[in-house]
């Protein structure tokens, strides 16, 4: 067993897979020589050479577009965007080509590409560095969207994403890149895309979260369970396709549902999850399905950022309201 933090687990996943499959290429801005802005690809160029791990020009459309071309032609590109807020120049390539190639070619071509991007707030960064944009991808047919919350899941999901025959958007919660470590197997292993994980079973309330919020929710649950409540906590892990079954079965048992996410509230992922709960467990509900999310504003600059993100105390207060509804 290795003991790795989340970003080291991603590096390890890339390393293990590159060793197993020569068709994997890794590239992006500063990805080669520097090892990436957060050092996710550290050491890979040295180990696998400049043809398999290299720097690109500062142009997201070009990074993704060339990745699509490589993927159609037999390579398995894993590309890095420095921050999810920088993806917009490449968004056109993702939506109009990567997501559609299988359909457009009637199944003749697929795009086995992984697009990695750090996302999320809480790191006191500048503009365009703190967004949670998972719904912009999850809304697009043909894309899979994955967000790990632990080093173990990060490696297993990354390997699953690389081996997936279709484009996978791999969003990395940079706030917890180095916040903790976990045991990670040395060999390759796969965590299936599309499968949520029940982190903790309980009877009174189902809470769904993902990414960096998982830890905050765990802390909130630790507080509220001292009051005698029993909470079921689910890490969604895959934003698209959503594991409907796990969520619905859980809510049928608990009768209460809360989703906690970092993305802005309106038209956010919580709206979709609440709809799933209404569709699948409506007759079991004892309180309104509720979302705890960030306000509908542009992420503030560092000075005001602590007003923006929910934390364990605000989460705990909202959970309590639902439990006592």
């Amino acid at each position: 067993m290795l003991v790795l933090n989340l970003i080291e687990a991603i590096t390890d996943a890339l390393d293990v897979e590159m060793g197993l499959d020569d068709s994997i290429v890794v590239f992006g801005e500063d990805v080669g020589f520097e090892g990436g802005v957060f050092r996710a690809t550290k050491g890979l160029q040295k180990k696998y050479g400049e043809k398999r791990c290299f720097d690109t020009v500062l142009a997201e459309a070009s990074i993704i577009g060339s990745g699509i071309g490589m993927a159609i032609n037999g390579l398995k590109p894993v590309v890095e965007l420095q921050f999810s807020g920088f993806m917009f120049p490449g968004y056109n390539q993702i939506v109009t080509h990567a997501a559609r190639m299988r359909n457009r070619s009637r199944g003749a071509y697929t795009v086995p590409m992984v697009i990695r991007m750090p996302y999320g707030a809480g790191v006191r960064a500048l503009e365009h560095h703190s967004e949670s944009l998972e719904v912009l991808f999850a809304h697009i047919a043909g894309l899979k969207v994955v967000i790990p919350s632990t080093p173990y899941d990060a490696k297993g999901l990354m390997i699953a994403a690389i081996r997936d025959p279709d484009p996978v958007i791999f969003l990395e919660p940079k706030r917890i890149y180095r916040a903790f470590k976990q045991e990670v197997p040395e060999d390759d292993y796969v965590i299936p895309i599309g499968k949520a994980k029940i982190l903790k079973e309980g009877n009174d309330l189902t809470v769904v979260s993902w990414g960096a919020m998982v830890r905050d929710v765990q802390n909130a649950i630790a507080i509220i369970e001292k009051e005698g409540f029993s909470i079921e906590h689910i890490d969604l892990r895959t934003i698209s396709p959503i594991d409907r079954e796990t969520i619905i079965e859980s809510v049928k048992k608990t009768g209460r549902f809360v989703v906690v996410h970092e993305a802005a509230q309106s038209f956010g992922p919580g709206a979709e999850l609440i709809t799933i709960v209404n569709e699948g467990a409506f007759l079991y509900l004892e309180a309104p399905p509720t979302r705890i999310a960030s306000p509908d504003i542009i992420v503030p600059l560092p000075k005001g950022e602590h007003h923006y993100l929910v934390n364990k105390n605000t989460i705990k207060d909202e959970l309590e309201k639902v439990l006592k509804y």
Binding site: V3, V37, F38, R39, K42, V123, R124, A125, L126, H129, T150, Y152, D153, K174, R175, I176, Y177, R178, A179, F180, K181, Q182, E183, I191, K197, I198, L199, K200, E201, G202, N203, S230, K252, K253, G255, F282, L283, Y284, L285, E286, P288, P302
Partner: protein
């Protein structure tokens, strides 16, 4: 923790010299207090503390050359994150210093700790729980939830209907609004009947006139009625009857009566019989028990509290003589007198009519011989005492005249068998026939 860095205090300042250092490690500092003075090529400025707290570290002394971005002072301000008055990449922060202490290559860690062109990332070596695909803290699933729409749940709440107890008539057993309305109607009808019970009786066929007088039941009458119904309907009564030759006892009482009267005591048969009952109960504890219907347990009591049926003006009262197993015959006699007279005057306290373990009813006072008394719920038995009369009985093949006491005992056949009752009666008889035995116990 707060890192006070040397920020650009003027236009395009890159370096300066510490002119005066006010901060001392270990000192407390308030927000806005001067930490140090710096002299640059353009100005001399006082740098004030942006936070309150304790000064952990001072990295520069007077005369030192400092550069924009250097961490000059570290203040413990109680915040859990590491804050700073400015951000720089590639800097050394206290957050990655501990990693150096662990012996990791300093250069690369320094790079990675703040490994981004922007922002600050929390760095920790905290090890979280291992994980695998099967891992989950298993907790047994709770009760099955009922099916109901939110509007039905609200309706049930508003009408005070416990939705969990309803049986749904909808698809897959869903509780429909109609089910809740029906349950609510039923509840209100039950309530109505309970409310109108008395008026219904009053309004029945025969009205008060000269031939029939209708009297509303008093509270006591109602209580007696309820208790009797409860006892008779829950306890399967079985009765055993016998006659005891109490000639000895009569002789003893006649002899002692005069003597005791002089001292102000009144010796009654009842007190002597209660003494006998108490001794017999200690020997046959099953008669001194009760049935806990809920838990399905027989509760045997190690103390004897005898309830005595008293004919009071307001109705039957059953005051209780507590701990007769600790009382002498005279004390029992006194207690009987005290309790029955206060029963007549309605002066009994609540705890004096509660807690009997066995009851005695003396209908002999009205000349009756045998009866079928109703058990004082939840006791196991009740003893009915008839009138002592002289009767011709056969003793050693000769007809003689003896004083005979008729006894009738009803017992709860759920916990007491006929043989238990028979043995109890035998013991009691033996005690009442032999006064010495009764008094020596």
């Amino acid at each position: 923790m707060f890192n006070v860095k040397f920020a650009d205090i003027g236009e395009g300042i890159h370096e300066g010299v510490v002119f005066k250092m006010h901060a001392i490690e270990g000192d407390k500092i308030e927000e806005s207090e001067v930490l140090f003075s710096v002299e640059t090529d353009k100005v001399t400025a006082d740098i004030t503390s942006p936070v309150s707290g304790e000064i952990l570290k001072v990295n520069a002394k007077e005369g030192d050359e400092i550069f924009v971005g250097d961490t000059i002072i570290v203040i413990e301000d109680g915040s859990s994150e590491i804050l700073s008055n400015m951000q720089m990449d590639g800097e050394e922060t206290p957050s990655n210093t501990p990693m150096k202490a662990e012996g990791v290559e300093a250069e690369s860690e320094k790079e990675e700790g703040g490994a981004s062109v922007v922002g600050e990332i929390e760095v920790s070596s905290e090890l979280i729980k291992s994980s695998d695909e099967s891992h989950c803290e298993i907790l047994n699933a709770s009760t099955k939830k009922i099916l109901a729409t939110p509007v039905a749940r609200k309706l049930a709440k508003d009408l005070g209907v416990d939705i969990q107890k309803l049986k749904g008539s909808g698809p897959a057993g869903r509780i429909m609004k109609a089910d809740i309305h029906a349950a609510s109607k039923e509840m209100s009808e039950v309530a109505k009947i309970e409310k109108t019970k008395e008026p219904v009786r009053k309004a029945s066929i025969v009205k008060s006139n000269e031939e029939v007088i209708r009297i509303p039941m008093s509270m006591i009458r109602k209580a007696i009625s309820e208790n009797m119904v409860k006892s008779k309907f829950t306890i399967p009564h079985t009765v055993v009857m016998d006659e005891v030759d109490v000639t000895d006892l009569v002789a003893f009482r006649d002899g002692a009566k005069e003597m005791l009267l002089e001292e102000g005591h009144k010796l009654t048969y009842l007190s002597l019989i209660i003494k006998g009952v108490t001794i017999a109960l200690k020997k046959h504890e099953i008669l001194n028990s009760s049935l806990d219907e809920e838990k399905q347990e027989i509760v045997i009591k190690k103390f004897v509290n005898i309830g005595i049926a008293v004919d009071a003006p307001q109705g039957l009262m059953v005051p209780v003589i507590k701990r007769t197993d600790h009382l002498s015959v005279l004390e029992i006699a006194f207690a009987i007198k005290d309790l029955s007279s206060r029963a007549q005057e309605k002066k009994l306290k609540l705890d004096e009519i509660k807690g009997s373990t066995f009851t005695v009813t003396n209908y002999g006072a009205f000349g009756a011989s045998f009866g079928v008394p109703i058990i004082n719920h939840p006791d196991a038995a009740v003893l009915g005492i008839g009138l002592i009369v002289k009767k011709p009985v056969v003793v050693a093949d000769e007809i003689v005249i003896r004083h005979m006491l008729p006894l009738s005992m009803s017992f709860d056949h759920r916990i007491v068998d006929g043989a238990d009752a028979g043995r109890f009666m035998q013991t009691l008889k033996k005690l009442l026939m032999n006064t010495n035995l009764l008094l020596l116990n």
